[in-house]
C-alpha cells in the first residue's frame, strides 16, 4: 500500500532519492537548538489565532454605538475597530482565548527570537557559511517587531492609540521627508483621515506576514541546505553532523514540542490576562492614562526616547528634533545595522574565512562574548529606562534621580560589561577542568613516610557511555525474534 503510493509519487515527482536523504537528515541534539523552534511554533499559533481574529475584527475608524454584552460600554460611541475587538473578546465564543493567545504568542515569538539570536551569536553559529541565515533572521526580528506594533495598534484602545500618536511624531522627526511620510501614511495631520487602522490592518495581516513566511521558508531552507551546527563532542567534526535523524526521531520530538509550545501559549492566553482593552477604553486623542507602556519588545525604544536630553536643533528656518530622531530612528537603525553586519565585522577583524560547523564555547571567544554582553547591557539599560516612572513610584525615589541614573547607566554600563565579561572569559579559559565535576585527590602516606596522591574514581552519574556515531541504517533486519524481544531492545521497522 505505502510502497504503491510512494512509487506512484516517485513516477511523477522522483521523490525517492531526495526524500530518503531528507528523512536521513541528521539534527544535532542540544537544548539551546529548541529556542528557534519556540519562535517557529509561536509563529504557527500566531497564524492560526490570527486567522480566527480576522473573521471578527472590523478594521475601521468609523464610529458606531456599542450594543454588545460589556455593560459599561453600552450606548457609548466607539470606533468599529474598538467595538469589534471588545465584541470578539466577549461576544464571540473562545474569542477572548484566541485574542489573548495571539497576543501572548506575539510576545513569545519575539522573546524566543531574541534568545535564539543570542544563542547563535554567542556560539558563533553565524560564521561562514551561515552569514545569509543570520541576516534573514535579523530581518525576521525587525519585521516581527514591526508587525507586533501594528497588531497592538489595531484595537484602537487608549494605550495603543497613544502608541500610534508617538509613531506619527517619530515619523515627523525625520529630517526633510518626515512630515511627508507622516502625511502620506496617515492621510493628513494627526490623527489623519481615519485611514490608518485599515492600512495597519492590511500590513499586519497580509503584507508583513507574507514577507515573514517567505523569510521563514528561506531560514529553514538554508538550515536544511547548510545543515545545522553542532557543539564539539565525541565523533563530532567540522565535516559531519551527529544527532538524531529527521525521521522518525526529530519529527517526533519537534512535533511534540509544537504541541507543548502551543499548549503553554493557550494556557497563558486563558489564564494570564493581557491587554484588557475594555479597561483602557476607546482611544481619544486628548485622553491618556498613567504608566503607558508598550509591549516588551518596544520598551527599548521607549526607554531611549525617555532618557534622551532635549536637544532640538533649530537653524536656517528648519528644525531637527534630535531628541526624537536620535533615540527613535538613528538608535534602532544603528543597532539593526550592527546586527546585520556583525558576521562581516567579525570576519574583517579575525580574517577567518574557513567554514565553521562546530560551535564555540562563549568563553573561548572573549571579545565576541564581551561585545555581546555590552550590547545586551545597552539594550536592557534602555529597556528598564522605559519604566522610569514606575520605578520612581515603586522605590519612592524622585523621578529626576531615576532618569539621571539611566542617563549615565545606559551609555557607561556597556563598557563595564565589556571589560568584566572579557576578564571573566579569560579567567574561565585559564581555569582547568571547568564545567566538569571536581574529583577528590586522595592523599596517602605510606609506611615509609612517602606521600602519594591518587584521583578518586569518577562518580557514577558523571560518566556517560557514549557510542560512536554511525550512519542512519537504511535497512533493518527485524527477523530475529530472539533479539527483538531481548530486554531493552525494541523492534524498529522502517
Amino acid at each position: 500500500m505505502i510502497d504503491k503510493s510512494l512509487n506512484w509519487l516517485d513516477d511523477r515527482l522522483g521523490v525517492a532519492k531526495g526524500g530518503r536523504t531528507f528523512l536521513d537528515k541528521i539534527f544535532p541534539d542540544h537544548w539551546s537548538f529548541m529556542l528557534g523552534e519556540i519562535a517557529l511554533y509561536s509563529f504557527v499559533v500566531l497564524l492560526g489565532t490570527g486567522v480566527f481574529l480576522t473573521l471578527y475584527f472590523v478594521p475601521s475608524a468609523h464610529e458606531v454605538v456599542y450594543h454588545g454584552s460589556y455593560v459599561p460600554l453600552r450606548g457609548q460611541k466607539v470606533s468599529e475597530a474598538y467595538g469589534s475587538t471588545v465584541g470578539l473578546s466577549f461576544d464571540v465564543r473562545s474569542g477572548l482565548l484566541m485574542r489573548q493567545a495571539h497576543h501572548w504568542a506575539a510576545d513569545i515569538f519575539l522573546g524566543s527570537i531574541a534568545v535564539h539570536m543570542a544563542r547563535v551569536f554567542f556560539t558563533g553559529a553565524f560564521r561562514k557559511p551561515r552569514e545569509f541565515n543570520w541576516i534573514v533572521g535579523v530581518l525576521m526580528l525587525i519585521l516581527g517587531i514591526v508587525n507586533g506594533f501594528l497588531g497592538y495598534s489595531l484595537p484602537d484602545d487608549l494605550v495603543s492609540g497613544t502608541g500610534i500618536r508617538i509613531a506619527y511624531s517619530i515619523m515627523e522627526s525625520i529630517p526633510v521627508v518626515g512630515s511627508y511620510i507622516a502625511f502620506f501614511l496617515f492621510g493628513g495631520n494627526y490623527p489623519g483621515s481615519g485611514i490608518i487602522i485599515p492600512r495597519f490592518f492590511v500590513l499586519h495581516v497580509l503584507i508583513v506576514p507574507a514577507i515573514l513566511v517567505g523569510l521563514l521558508a528561506a531560514h529553514l531552507g538554508l538550515l536544511v541546505k547548510q545543515k545545522h551546527t553542532q557543539f564539539p563532542g565525541k565523533g563530532k567534526t567540522e565535516e559531519n553532523v551527529v544527532g538524531s535523524p529527521m525521521f522518525p526521531t526529530f519529527i517526533a520530538k519537534t512535533t511534540g514540542f509544537l504541541f507543548v509550545s502551543a499548549g503553554v501559549i493557550f494556557l497563558l492566553g486563558g489564564f494570564a490576562q493581557i491587554n484588557p482593552i475594555w479597561q483602557f477604553g476607546q482611544y481619544e486623542p486628548y485622553q491618556i492614562s498613567y504608566a503607558v507602556q508598550p509591549d516588551w519588545y518596544m520598551g527599548w525604544l521607549d526607554g531611549a526616547a525617555r532618557i534622551m536630553p532635549a536637544w532640538e536643533w533649530v537653524g536656517w528656518g528648519h528644525t531637527i528634533p534630535l531628541e526624537v530622531f536620535l533615540p527613535a530612528v538613528v538608535f534602532p537603525g544603528l543597532i539593526f545595522t550592527i546586527l546585520l553586519a556583525w558576521p562581516f565585522i567579525e570576519q574583517a577583524k579575525t580574517k577567518d574565512l574557513r567554514y565553521h560547523n562546530l560551535l564555540d564555547r562563549p568563553r573561548d571567544r572573549p571579545k565576541r562574548t564581551a561585545a555581546g554582553a555590552a550590547m545586551l547591557t545597552l539594550l536592557f539599560g534602555v529597556f528598564f529606562a522605559s519604566s522610569t516612572d514606575v520605578m520612581a513610584n515603586f522605590f519612592q525615589l524622585p523621578l529626576m534621580d531615576v532618569l539621571w541614573f539611566f542617563r549615565f547607566f545606559v551609555p557607561l554600563a556597556p563598557f563595564v560589561a565589556y571589560y568584566l565579561t572579557f576578564k571573566i572569559c579569560n579567567e574561565m579559559r585559564e581555569a582547568d577542568g571547568i564545567g566538569t565535576r571536581k574529583r577528590a585527590l586522595i592523599v596517602e602516606r605510606t609506611t615509609e613516610g612517602e606521600y602519594l596522591t591518587t584521583e578518586s574514581p569518577v562518580r557514577p552519574g558523571d560518566e556517560h557511555l557514549e557510542l560512536d556515531p554511525v550512519p542512519v541504517p537504511t535497512f533493518i533486519d527485524t527477523t530475529d525474534p530472539e533479539l527483538a524481544t531481548a530486554a531493552g531492545v525494541r523492534r524498529v521497522i522502517r
Binding site: R93, L96, R165, E172, I174, G178, F184, F186, G188, N189, Y190, G192, I195, Q226, N240, V241, V242, S244, P245, A252, K253, T255, G256, V260, G263, V264, L267, G270, F271, P285, Y286, I288, V292, D302, A305, R306, A310, H318, T319, I320, P321, E323, V324, T388, L399, M400, D468, P469, V470, P471, V472, P473, T474, I476, D477, A484, A486, V489, R490, R491
Partner: protein, 321 residues
Amino acid sequence: MSDKTPGDGGPPATLDDPHLRPAAKNPKRMELLAALAMVVGLAGFAAFIVVYWINASNYWEAAMLGVGMLGLGVGVIAWGKYLMPQGPFVEERHDFHSTDDERKAFNAAITGRGGLEVKRRGLLLGIFAVTGGIMTLALLVPGVRSLGPKPAKSEDTEGNTEFSLYTTNWKKGAKLVTVGGRPVQVDDLEVGGVLTVFPQGYEGSSPDQVILIRLAQLGPNDPPYPIAPPGRTEWGVQGYVAYSKLCTHLGCPVGLYQEKTQQLVCPCHQSIFNVNAGAVPQFGPAPRPLPQLPITVDATGQMRANGSFDQAVGPGFWERP
C-alpha cells in the same frame, strides 16, 4: 565507525546494534508513561469540546486545550526522545562550493555570454536600463503620491486646517467648549482645576486640544495676570491660563497636572512643564514650552480665545521654523 549499520547498499542493520536501542532504561515503563500522557491529551481535547458545548468560561476552554496539547506533546516527545533509536547517528557534510571548473563555467556564462551581448547591443541594454528605471518611478508615483495629502503651509481655501502642521482651528473669539460641546464659563473651574477644551465646533480634535488651568482666584477688576512670562501678561485672564495639550516631545496629551508644584506632566515620557512660567520644560526630553493660547472672557462670562497659537503645536518637524 561500526560496520554493523551501513548506509546504502551494505548488509541490513541488526537489532542488536546498540544504536537502535531506545534511550530509556526501561522502555516498557516509558511507553506506558507516553501512552498515559497522550491519553491525558485526548481527554483534554474531548473535554474542550464539552466545555465549549456547554459554553463554560474561557478559563475552562484554555485549561482543557492546554492540558490536551501539553499531554499530547509530552507523550510524543517522550516517544521520540526515549523510545526511538538512540543513535547517535552521523551524516557527512559536503562542501557547498563547486569545483573550480564549474565556477569558471558559471562565470563564463555570465560574463562571457552576457558580456558578448553587452558589447554587441550596448544601446539596447542602456535603453532597457533607463526605461526600467523610469517604469519603476512611474509605478512609484501613484504608489506613494496617492497615499495622502502633502503637508501644507497653512489652511486651505475652505478653511480646513487638517492638512497643515502649522495651523489649528483656534481663531480670535472662538468659544472654549468642553469635549461634550458645553461652553466654558469663567466660574466653571475651582482654583487648581484643569479642563481640556476645544474651539467650538472642533470638539475632540487632536491638534486643537488645549488644557485650561485656573491658577488663582482673580476678580474681573484684579490685575490681569500676575504670573505670566514677560510679554504675555495679557494672555491669561482672571487667573486662567491655557496651553496646547500636545506634548512638544512626541505629541502625547500632557494630561497630568500637579497643583502643588503647578507643573504639567506628560505621562508618556515624563516631560515636566512649569505652568507658572509659560509652560517651559523643566525636565525630561521635551524641547520646547507648550504653546500658549491667549484667552479672554466676554461680557457674559463666556471664555473665548483671544487669538490663535503663535507657533505650530506638538512635536518638532523639519519645516518648523
